[in-house]
Symmetry: C2
Subunit: 135 residues, 2 copies
Amino acid sequence: MKDMIKKLKEIGLKVTPQRLAILEIIKGDRTHPSAEKIYDRISRKYPGLSFATVYSTLSKLVGVGEIQELDIDPNKKRFDPYTSVHWHFYCKTCKKVYDVDYDSSLTPGIKKIGGHQIDSIQLNFKGVCKHCTHK
Amino acid sequence: MKDMIKKLKEIGLKVTPQRLAILEIIKGDRTHPSAEKIYDRISRKYPGLSFATVYSTLSKLVGVGEIQELDIDPNKKRFDPYTSVHWHFYCKTCKKVYDVDYDSSLTPGIKKIGGHQIDSIQLNFKGVCKHCTHK
DNA sequence: TTGGATGCAAAAGATTTGCACTCCC
DNA sequence: GGGAGTGCAAATCTTTTGCATCCAA
């Protein structure tokens, strides 16, 4: 909790109960939740929380690099609080997003490509996950 | 035109004027258009074309691997008729998607990762493109 | 002829916005 | 006190769906 307060202050955002709850929920969540999933989980504890607040907070956290927005689920945005380098696998059947480590000699620091300035890189694998395959 | 008819028959889809128009428009289009852009371009020639037809045809073409659906634009699906191996750069400013070649020793044939079966791979770079940077 | 394809409009799902009220700093 | 933050509902945007009609094979 102390951590979250400190983090928000560092970022320059006002500390509110809603934001603390959002940070607390997503940090440590390795399921790559959508905005709706995050809203669901929090509104159990904080009835009255609104979507607008969730979206606005998530968007601010993405803006400062505190969490990452994933473009891997074709139907919605997914969020990842884990910011160190890793990649993702999306299961077309169960819609789960898995972290994958893949050492591809990829990107160790490329900042430009084709003359374009790179801010972020996503390597997305898609298919059917091992759990769905075995059913 | 002959090509398109042949292609549709190979795929096993009925040959209709709408589908021919869609194929004709997207093949050779290197702008990674969204469904709406495709609809716009075609409906100039074919008034009365419906969104439902565009979406349904695109989805069938994706299904047979004739075109690729890109998860890179956070706001909508983009389509790519160019099926050989290459990657993409998305400009956060102008929203254009550029093709990029990046030989990363990446993927030359990995079929599984973390035990999951891989169908497709996308490597997405994001940032500000050279044209937007220079403005 | 007949099942797949189309057009239209309505519906669904995700995200954003406007605005009045609230409360953190 | 003032401005950022919040809640609510309506609006927007993209994509899907239901259904009657149509047409390619």
